[in-house]
């Protein structure tokens, strides 16, 4: 499982950085920066979901690659 940010949608609310600071940082304008671009460790998956649900812009996608086998 990994995370993607749609930079065009992000408006710098930084809710992801609050929900999951291990996964999301922010640039000088507050826009989200992904700190972990590879597969997420299992213990961060629920935090990633929380960030996805809390994004005011729906700019965060969680890509579940498990189904690809």
């Amino acid at each position: 499982m990994r995370v993607e940010i749609d930079a065009g949608s992000c408006h710098g609310h930084q809710m992801c950085a609050i929900a999951a600071p291990e996964i999301f940082g922010s640039d000088e304008y507050g826009n989200a920066v992904l700190l972990i671009e590879d597969d997420l460790p299992a213990e961060l998956e629920s935090k990633a979901r929380r960030a996805e649900n809390n994004c005011p812009e729906r700019a965060i996608s969680i890509i579940d690659e498990a189904s690809k086998g």
Partner: protein, 408 residues
């Protein structure tokens, strides 16, 4: 069988019994229909969580249409010139702007509301809370709103803006008068009072801007005066509107969340003890206080493009859409047992702070202010209870109590 029209007729913001407890009507409305036309206000009105959630994020709708269309083009009346000061005060408010102006101004303002900036403010915020709550303890019985929440939240926002604390009473009175303009049902007396307050407020803020220009203090107003962003300087009118919306939003909503939330806490047996006993952290409690009895019950958007359809209803450019936050926050499709006040729910993905580009810029600050307050109350008043049954202001949109008298 009750018809949808009969339920809509009960959605009457001038009915005191509706204001006292709007939730039975809001729940019936939401279950009867996801969207209805409100004849009295000329708004398409949304009731369900998912539609509200999606609409907040839909950039085909905006908080304003005047950046694209004239009032006449959309068949709407020109604003009433008698209330020109009120109109001027909100003209450059972030709440009424769309990109690119919104993006430019929000970027400047949001710097002081980032999680990092807000965390740095925590000791000062705790200092305000401690001072006021210690005073409440000396009083024994106190009004949580006037003895605590109002002076507290105004002190916090004014300290960030660089407004002298001695002027906070003025700002409170102006703000109270102005925000009544956002109700669905207003009178000329209310409008005139709001307009006078806005005129005084503008005058005051202009003097403050001049003072900051002469003597910068590094706080927000001073920084807005100073800042040049990509070669762009904020105009005085923009600074005036920006400052005022931050004061209004920065305390009305915080005060009402504390009042409505603590009322709910103390009316639901055992919930306060869960916080006092440490089972539920204050930080977690904040979210249910925001959800269960929303401080903001209605928020509007205008349709800016053709082809928008919400909940099966086709809408046209210029249509006004009203979102009923109180109905959406109790939607059983989204929340388990939505009418149950469960202080440990801890669901942060509600719509209490809105969504999309107008998502509350002060959300991290508001959460921290309320958390600090709940923790401070729990430390000092483990046996807190209502001293009398509180009543709500006769307003629908901005929902808050007239007082919340507490005793220990």
């Amino acid at each position: 069988m009750v018809s949808v029209d009969e339920i809509i007729a009960r959605f009457d913001v001038d009915d005191p019994s509706f204001i006292a407890d709007p939730y039975p009507v809001l729940n019936d409305l939401r279950e009867a229909t996801p969207i209805f036309w409100n004849e009295r206000t000329g708004q398409w009105t949304l009731t369900r969580f998912t539609d509200v959630y999606e609409t907040l994020r839909d950039r085909r709708l905006g908080r304003s249409y005047t950046h694209l269309y004239s009032h006449a083009q959309l068949g709407r009346n020109e604003p009433d010139a008698r209330w020109s000061a009120f109109l001027q005060h909100e003209q450059w408010s972030l709440l009424c702007l769309e990109p690119p102006d919104h993006t430019r101004i929000r970027r400047l303002v949001s710097k002081v509301f980032t999680p990092k900036a807000v965390t740095a403010l925590r000791p000062r915020i705790e200092g305000f809370a401690d001072e006021l709550l210690d005073h409440c303890r000396e009083l024994g019985a106190f009004d949580l709103l006037t003895d605590y929440a109002q002076p507290y939240s105004v002190a916090v926002i004014c300290s960030m803006l660089g407004v002298p604390r001695s002027d906070t009473r003025l700002l409170l009175d102006w703000s109270h008068a102005i925000v009544k303009m956002y109700e669905l049902s207003t009178t000329d007396t209310i409008r005139a009072a709001a307009n006078t307050a806005a005129a005084e407020y503008i005058q005051y803020t202009k003097q403050l801007i001049a003072a900051k220009r002469a003597e910068p203090d590094g706080l927000l107003i001073s920084e807005l005066v100073r800042v040049e962003d990509e070669g762009d300087v904020l105009t005085e009118d923009e600074i005036v509107s920006t400052t005022m919306v931050l004061v209004e939003a920065g305390h009305e909503a915080t005060v009402n969340t504390l009042g409505n939330g603590m009322r709910a806490m103390l009316k639901h047996e055992g919930q306060w003890q869960r916080v006092v006993g440490g089972e539920v952290a204050a930080r977690v409690a904040v979210e249910e206080m925001l959800r269960w009895d929303s401080p903001l019950h209605l928020f509007e958007r205008w349709v800016l493009e053709d082809g928008v359809e919400i909940a099966g209803q086709g809408l046209k450019v210029g249509d006004e859409v009203a979102m009923l936050f109180g109905a959406a926050q109790r939607d059983p499709r989204r929340f388990d047992e939505p009418d149950r006040f469960d202080i440990g729910r801890g669901d942060t993905a509600h719509i209490g702070f809105g969504g999309g580009i107008h998502f509350c810029v002060g959300a991290p600050l508001a959460r921290q202010e309320i958390e600090v307050s709940v923790a401070g109350l729990a430390d000092r008043f483990p046996d807190l209870k209502l001293a009398e049954e509180p009543t709500y202001h006769p307003n629908f949109v901005i929902r808050g109590l007239t007082a919340l008298r507490l005793e220990r």
